[in-house]
């Protein structure tokens, strides 16, 4: 876009693709973080280089300039951030630069894939129309309203490209109908959305391997795996498929076709991503803040008294905050708010209609979903959690009311200098700025943020303010802890500096430097070959590496025509070797990836990348703590300036860069590191095995990911012997134990790090994408004559739907054995609610068969409840779940309530349908047989045994 890349045209990737998110996220930021630790030892940051060409490196200062320009150009920088980054550039503190730039990037846009969904971007335009408020505030480079409109126009073109450039048949091969997709409700539609929303990154990954189709295919599927792992954790089961050759090949083909069509239409990929990022950044400027929602809602509510309006608006804000554990739809949020004030159905419907008309439903849902992303990515104190539960946003009340008042005065004074006018309140200053010819977005943002924070206090009563004040104490302790950590780090830094200046260390360092200098100039010529005799080890590595590449590629070319099975087998092995960066462990990884689930693969990718370069890799985000410790210990033992700093501050991620720098220390280090890491990694591997064998919970966790651990244990030697034995014997077969450990650790990292939370797709605003036309219809819920009769009662409809779908897919009764697999996946898709389906699976697997309480929870989640606080059946009346109140006696039960029988050891529960005298008609699970779900056609329960019912609050 507008980044001036003229001086960077020498770099192939930048010349062809410009500076984009992929380059910044995958190369520049990690490169700055890692390479800066090597000081003068760094060659620069390696960039994606076309196949067969010499590796290209970009200088650190150039990389930082590009990152800064890109962030600014995409409007991710506030003025204060820019100043801070420039200051760090001047100080040549690139590591800190990378850390702060990454944080800014994450803070500004959170996770676009979770917030800026396809449907939402379209609804954003509708919202702006409904609000009749084009954002007039701009900067010379940025106009939020235009950014949103531009991207929406572009997205229409993208859809067109997807329709024209691809065929449903090709897409069918990416998500075959008969494969299991695990817990998530991965439909073609959802997968297509994921791919299209991340098309730039996916093609960016392919472009890093120009000229090498196999590697490009591998890179695209890996990238998609990373995107799903990070942004769509509910869809991680799809990772299992990504290693499949046919799927990954067709995935690459699909993205390639789309790209070709876009090129034909004159659209650049980088442009899509940049426009998207700008639109995301613009969302916050356009969408009403919490406090603005509070104010605007009151002006549109069809309620008679002002106090009622205020009460409802406050309840709505409380509902937004208290439900932040997971994203909800605006419909659900308004219902929750209605329930808080006891609004009846008619009243609630009228409120919904009015809020819909005003467009505020969009803002309500967006802000709640945004908060849920923030809550899930921040560490809150206990008292902050408590605030959230009570409907108070701890992020808005982080500063005290007194501090905000002081801040207000400072802000107004600053604005007075800029505007030449003195204002008494922020609202007046804001209004003045909006009235200017060209309102400045930086002022507007600061005013809105301040109003939002101070406004949060106006909603609180005396007791709530007391709670907020107490939470500040907790926050201060938490901050104090962080400061102690920082102090500890500073102490280590100081210690390193002190250690550096010890005479003997100075001497050692001088010796190293002398050695490096000597090594650079001391070259022996043997014929045409120049051998740096004092850097002989890295030189030998380089030669071996070259030799491996050349001989492997020659062999691949030669064997490509071999048709007999043995010849094909050899050719395939060689290809795996190539795909594994010409290393045995890389090849083994590649084999694993093809053979098994990609949850394992993803972790292996990271772990084996470490092994590939003796514990290294540019994937700094995923370095293991354990490996880090190993490296740290080792480095401390060796000593020296670069190493000692590295040792205290970082883990293994710098080691690769260190080796690449080819210093004397790097040479020595590479020799020792291997041996020590083998020991540690094997030890870690053993811990995993021990844990796996001894803890059923741990095994359960692993199994939930569809990781066939038994198969892995068997397949490691099997795959190794059957497919790679020839190569492994020829090469460094001694690494086998390391590989085994790495594979195990990889799984461990994956299992431990993975986010288990279920992110429900919200219902109203986030559905019905135009992409449906690309990939065809999906089965979502029962339709036509099979559809349950809602009759105005969502719980009855939900219960019936569960019963019918389980029966339809042949898994009624639902037990631990059929709560996984294709049939269950179909059920999950049919249900249209991943969290509810996950609860059904959890109940069935935890208790061997689907439980009566599990059935209630599923229905609760499907009808907008939190699904929390459910104990055994006989405790439900004495300790009702979240959002419910107990009523006693069967006479108090109404259709859709949950009936409770407290008899027996743990009682029984289900949905009350009607009273038929001596018994009631009901829906339940585990009442007609183990795990069997019954609807009202077969479920009856003695009225005399019904102790009472649970009603919605």
């Amino acid at each position: 876009m507008s980044i001036d890349t003229t001086q960077f045209q020498g770099f192939s990737y930048i010349k062809d693709n410009g500076v984009n998110k992929y380059l910044v996220e995958e190369y520049l930021l990690p490169g700055l973080a890692v390479q800066s630790r090597l000081g003068k030892g760094s060659r620069g940051i390696p960039l994606p280089t076309p196949f067969g060409k010499p590796q290209e490196f970009i200088k650190l200062e150039d990389a930082a300039t590009l990152v800064l320009s890109w962030l600014e150009d995409n409007n991710h920088l506030y003025s204060k951030d820019k100043g801070q980054l420039i200051k760090l550039m001047r100080k040549v503190s690139y590591e800190q630069f990378a850390t702060i730039a990454s944080k800014i990037y994450q803070d500004r846009i959170q996770d676009p894939n979770k917030l800026f969904t396809v449907a939402r971007q379209q609804n954003l335009e509708l919202y702006r129309e409904a609000q009749k408020k084009q954002a007039a505030t701009t900067t010379p480079k940025f106009d939020p309203g235009k950014a949103i409109s531009d991207y929406n126009r572009l997205y229409t073109q993208l859809l067109r490209a997807a329709n024209l450039g691809t065929s449903p048949a090709l897409f069918q091969k990416i998500l075959p109908a008969d494969v299991p997709v695990g817990r998530g409700d991965l439909s073609k539609q959802v997968l297509a959305q994921i791919i299209m929303q991340n098309i730039t990154e996916l093609r960016g990954a392919a472009h890093a391997y120009v000229g090498d189709e196999d590697k490009a295919t591998q890179a695209v599927s890996r990238k998609l795996g990373e995107i799903i792992s990070y942004s769509y954790p509910e869809q991680t089961a799809y990772l299992n498929l990504l290693g499949d050759k046919e799927i990954s090949t067709n995935l690459n083909k699909f993205t390639e076709n789309v790209e070709q069509q876009l090129v034909h239409d004159g659209i650049k990929l980088a442009e899509i991503d940049d426009l998207k990022n700008r639109a995301i950044a613009a969302s916050g400027d356009v969408i009403a803040t919490e406090y603005e929602i509070y104010q605007q809602v009151q002006s549109v509510l069809p309620l008679s008294s002002e106090s009622e309006k205020k009460q409802f608006a406050k309840s709505l804000i409380q509902s937004i905050n208290s439900s932040a554990g997971r994203p909800l739809s605006s419909d659900e949020l308004i219902s929750l708010a209605g329930a808080r004030i006891g609004a009846d159905t008619t009243q609630l419907q009228t409120i919904k209609t009015e809020l819909e008309k005003s467009g505020l439903t969009f803002a309500i849902e967006y802000r709640q979903n945004e908060l849920s992303v923030i809550v899930n990515s921040h560490r809150l104190t206990r008292s902050e959690h408590n605030l959230l539960r009570r409907g108070i946003n701890p992020f808005k009340t982080e500063k005290s009311e007194a501090d905000l008042t002081i801040e207000k005065d400072k802000l107004l004074k600053e604005f007075q200098i800029d505007s030449g006018t003195k204002f008494a309140t922020i609202a007046e200053a804001h209004q003045f700025e909006q009235g200017r010819d060209k309102p400045n977005i930086n002022w507007t943002r600061r005013f809105r943020e301040h109003q939002d924070h101070l406004g949060a206090y106006t909603l609180l009563d005396f007791n709530e303010k007391g709670l907020v004040n107490r939470s500040h104490i907790g926050r201060r302790i938490e901050n104090w802890r962080s400061k102690v950590d920082e102090l500890q780090t500073k102490f280590f830094d100081k210690w390193v500096e002190f250690d550096e200046n010890l005479p003997w260390n100075k001497g050692i360092r001088a010796a190293y430097e002398w050695y490096d200098k000597l090594a650079e100039g001391f070259v022996i010529k043997v014929g045409t070959t120049q051998i740096p005799i004092f850097r002989i080890v890295p030189w030998i590595y380089d030669r071996i590496d070259e030799w491996k590449k050349i001989t492997t590629l020659k062999a691949i070319a030669k064997t490509s025509t071999w048709k007999n099975p043995v010849g094909k087998f050899i050719h395939w092995n060689l290809n795996q070797y190539k795909l594994g960066d010409y290393t045995v462990n890389g090849a083994l990884y590649s084999t694993f990836r093809s053979a098994w689930g990609s949850g394992t693969k993803w972790a292996l990718e990271k772990s084996v990348a470490l092994a590939t370069k003796m514990g290294v890799g540019s994937a700094f985000k995923y370095v293991t703590v354990s490996a880090s410790r190993t490296a740290t210990r080792l480095l401390l033992q060796i000593g020296g300036k670069t190493l000692a700093k590295t040792a205290v501050k970082i883990g293994t991620e710098a080691i690769g860069a260190l080796l690449a720098a080819g210093t004397a220390i790097g040479t020595a280090f590479s020799v020792v590191l291997g041996a020590l890491m083998v020991f540690d990694l094997i030890k870690l591997g053993w811990n995993f095995v021990k844990n796996f064998l001894s803890s059923s919970d741990f095994r359960g966790s692993v199994a939930k990911f569809g990781l066939t651990v038994g198969a892995i244990f068997l397949a490691i030697p099997a795959a190794f012997v059957s497919t790679l034995s020839v190569i492994s014997l020829l090469m460094l077969s001694v690494l086998q134990p390391v590989l085994l450990s790495l594979a195990i650790i990889g799984i461990m990292i994956f299992v431990n790090n993975h986010n288990f939370s279920d992110l429900m797709t919200t219902v109203r605003l986030d559905s019905g994408s135009a992409l449906q036309q690309v990939v065809g219809d999906i089965v979502c819920t029962l339709t036509g004559s099979e559809a349950p009769s809602k009759a105005g009662n969502p719980k009855l409809a939900a219960g019936k739907c569960v019963a019918q779908l389980l029966t339809q897919f042949g898994i009624n009764p639902l037990t631990e054995s059929n709560a996984v697999g294709a049939a269950f996946n179909s059920f999950s898709s049919g249900l249209g609610n991943g969290a509810a389906a996950a609860e059904a699976a959890r109940s069935a697997t935890s208790y061997k068969v689907f439980q009566c309480v599990g059935f209630d929870v599923v229905v609760d989640i499907m009808t907008g409840g939190s699904g929390t606080g459910w104990g055994n059946a006989n405790t439900l009346l004495s300790s009702p779940p979240s959002g419910y109140k107990p009523v006693l006696g069967v006479g108090s039960c109404l259709p859709g309530d949950f009936f409770v029988d407290t008899s027996g050891v743990v009682g029984h529960t289900g949905i009350f349908v009607s009273n038929a005298g001596p018994y009631i008609k009901c829906m339940d699970a585990n009442g007609g047989g183990p795990g069997l779900v019954r609807d009202e056609s077969s479920c009856v329960w003695p009225s005399a045994n019904v102790a009472g019912c649970l009603k919605k609050n």
Binding site: Y847, C852, G904, V906, A916, P918, N926, V940, P942
Partner: protein
């Protein structure tokens, strides 16, 4: 005399031989007791399903009638031979196991203890044994519960008490006898035992008048 002794000796020997023959016909050397080689539940299993039957495999063919079971807590057991496998028996518990309970099963062969099997049943959030009792009670007292209340143009029926159907006549042109006959027919058609039910007629509530 000598002849007599010889004769007597012969008789004694014959008697002994005969006795030995008789004993040999009557004597059955005791076979070694069968040994349990495996069970469907590994020893000390936990989270055993409350509905799971238990299968026990022996080292030899087994006659289920010689097997008896004593369990703590007490259960009623049905012991059957496994289909196609004479070395295996199936122990069916008539009622569901108690949930989250430690069970100890002592297996006897010919009244001799041969094995003890211990396991713990899985916890549940509802009580299946109680549920089973409730279902049995409903099946006994209200066998057509899932189909009742029922209504057609002539009548409406509900259960008013166990095995008692209360009939509301909707068609005034039909007599009580005719309606009861029709209801009985409906009960039979729906798998119920018409003669086991009682039928009472309730008069329709008077329509509100202005």
């Amino acid at each position: 005399m000598q002849h007599f002794f010889r004769k007597k000796t012969i008789l004694v020997l014959l008697g002994i031989t005969l006795a030995m023959l008789v004993v040999s016909f009557l004597y059955r050397p005791s076979k070694p007791l069968p040994r349990v080689t495996s069970t469907s539940l590994a020893g000390s299993s936990t989270k055993v399903g409350y509905f799971d039957p238990v299968s026990v495999r022996f080292n030899q063919s087994i006659n289920p009638s010689l097997i008896s079971i004593k369990s703590m807590p007490e259960e009623s057991w049905e012991i059957t031979a496994a289909t196609g496998d004479p070395t295996t028996i199936i122990l069916n518990h008539v009622q569901y196991f108690r949930v989250n309970t430690e069970y100890s099963l002592t297996i006897f062969y010919n009244n001799e203890q041969i094995h003890v099997l211990k396991f713990r049943t899985a916890p549940q959030q509802s009580d299946p044994r109680y549920v089973q009792e409730v279902n049995n009670e409903i099946a006994r007292d209200y066998p057509l519960a899932t189909k009742v209340p029922y209504e057609n143009s002539n009548f409406k029926i509900i259960y008013s008490s166990p095995l008692t159907l209360e009939i509301t006549i909707k068609n005034p042109n039909l007599t009580s006898t005719e309606i009861i006959a029709e209801v009985k027919s409906w009960v039979t058609q729906n798998g119920g035992n018409a003669s086991a039910h009682k039928y009472i007629i309730s008069s329709p509530s008077p329509s509100p008048t202005n």
